[in-house]
Every structure is written in structure tokens, then in C-alpha cells.
Amino acid sequence: MEQLILASGGCDPANDIICRPDNVIELFEFTDPLFTIGPLHFTRTVILIFLAMFIVLALLFFGLRGRKLIPSKFGVMVESLVSFVRDDIAVSIIGPEGVRYYPWLLSLFMFILVGNLFEITPFINFPITSRMALPGFLSLLTWVIFVFVGFKKNGFGYLGPLVWPKTVPVALRPLVGLIEFVSTFFLRPLTLAVRLFANMVAGHLMLTLLLVSGWVFLSSVGEIGIRSVIGIPWFVFGLGIFVFEIVVAVLQAYIFTLLSAVYVQSSVHPEH
């Protein structure tokens, strides 16, 4: 409801045809701390991050607790998620040693999935991954891991094929090497974070504008009369986007995990 008020502030259904907030950033910033412990201020975003963490922990704990020969339906669901990340992402991309990296990939996948699905959860309606801090931090973690693994597995030979690629003609090697270096160490973490962030921002923005416009127009039928039918297409369009966003949320969690696995794979076997 707080978001509805923010988004419909300055909306005039008698003259406009869609409701736009004065400042889009208001939709993503919750600056008022809900409660404070010492120097730490807990805003809505921070509480949602902790909520996502507890949801992931609870899912894995209750799903895999007391593993029986015939697991419950809930256990089967959690097990299929876990085996999807282990077999279809970690092992099939990185190879047999991917099993070592799959706890990290699983936590990435589950946390991003829950965080993305907050976008369409009623009464939460805010994807925590649409704040750059969160995807930025997660992709920094991926960066640290794949650079560390690259240097640990290959020593300084890790840099060799990157900055001086042997498969390219000699005259082109400095240029290709420079491009490879920049794209590996700077563009990879940047695009990894921005991909998730941009998709979530765009989705949240579309959902908020369309559904709030529909709600504002349809609820002010007493004041503007027949003009309130403008709200119907906004509302229908918003519900269509709502379904689409479920797909986007799952797909972006999958792509983030997949690309993390691919980056680690390129550090483990740099020649491929």
C-alpha cells in the first residue's frame, strides 16, 4: 500500500492517461528505518534480505531433513531443485570437479530465485535484487572465486592465454589480449550484476506503473465517470506482465548461476 501511495502521488486520473511517479527512484528506496539496533538501521529492504535468507535455509532444512527412502512430496521438490543445480549446472558445465562448487552455486540460485520471486509475492512486491548492492555483491563474490580458482589451478599461467592468445596471428595478439583482459576482469562481473539488476528494475517498474494505473483509474470511477475504462487495459496488461515476470524471475536466477559456473569453468580449464 505504501508503494501504491508513492506511485500514485501526483497522479490525476481526470487529465492523465497513465500514472507516473514524480521520481522513479522512490519506488526502489526505503530510507525510513523500521527499527534500529545500535548503529544498524533496518529498512524494509534489509528485512526482506534476511527474510529471503531464512526462507532459503528453511526450504533446504525442512526439505532435506531426515532423508528417507521414499521422501515426502515437499522433499522431492527440494531434492529436484538441488539435483538440478548439481547435475544440470555444476557438473554439466564445470565437469566432474563441479561437485566442489555446487554448494556455492546452489546458495546463489536459491537466494536469487527467492529474491526475484519477492517481486510477485503479494504484500512484499519488491524484488530485493533490484537494488544494485545485492547483485553487485553476488557478482563480486563470483569474480573473487573465479579469479582465485584461476590463479590457484594455473599459477600465473592463467594470465598467459588471456593476454597473449596463441591461437591468434601475432599482429593481432596485443589487441585481442587487451580486449580479452578487459572483458574477463572488468566486463564479466559488471554485466553479470547489471543483467540481473536491469531485468528486475524493468519488471518492477512495469508492474508498478501498470497495476497502479489500473487501480487508480478503476477506483476513482465516482469522480471521473466513464473515463475510468482507461484503467481496464492497464490492468489487463499488468496482469499479463505479472505472469511474464514469473518466467523472468526464474530465468534470471538460472542465467546468473549458469554464467557463474561458466566463469569458474573457464578458470579451471583456461585453454577451452
Binding site: D88, S92, T191, A198, L251, Y254, L258, L259
Partner: protein
């Protein structure tokens, strides 16, 4: 001045989205024809398709960021 800057940034993002749009079309189209030819390889093709989309998309995303910081 501020409005002109953001309008130019918007045009720049639109131009930057052309290439990835065409590229993703090619990637997905070829993936579909590969899956239609060899349905048993669909799982592998799908994974590779998502990878290709993710790499192709990068330029559009950089344009998106430039639109915000311009």
C-alpha cells in the same frame, strides 16, 4: 540542457539495443532449428542458447546503464 542529455541518452540506448536484438534473434532461431532437427539434443542446445543470449545481451545492458548515468 539536462533534458537534451537524457533524450540523447535514450536515443543512444535505443541504438545500442538494435545489435543485441538482431543477435538474440539469430541465436534463438538457430537454436530452434537445431532442436527441431535433433530433439534428443534439446537439453544441451537450450543451455548453450541461454549462454549465447546472456553474452549477446551484454551490450544492451551496458547501454541501459549508460542511460541511467548519463
Amino acid at each position: 540542457m539536462e533534458e537534451i542529455k537524457s533524450a540523447i541518452a535514450l536515443v543512444g540506448y535505443g541504438l545500442g539495443a538494435i545489435g543485441p536484438g538482431i543477435g538474440i534473434g539469430i541465436v534463438v532461431g538457430n537454436a530452434i532449428s537445431a532442436m527441431a532437427r535433433q530433439p534428443e539434443a534439446a537439453g544441451m542446445v537450450r543451455t548453450t542458447m541461454f549462454l549465447g543470449i546472456a553474452f549477446t545481451e551484454a551490450l544492451a545492458l551496458i547501454g541501459f546503464v549508460l542511460f541511467f548515468i548519463a
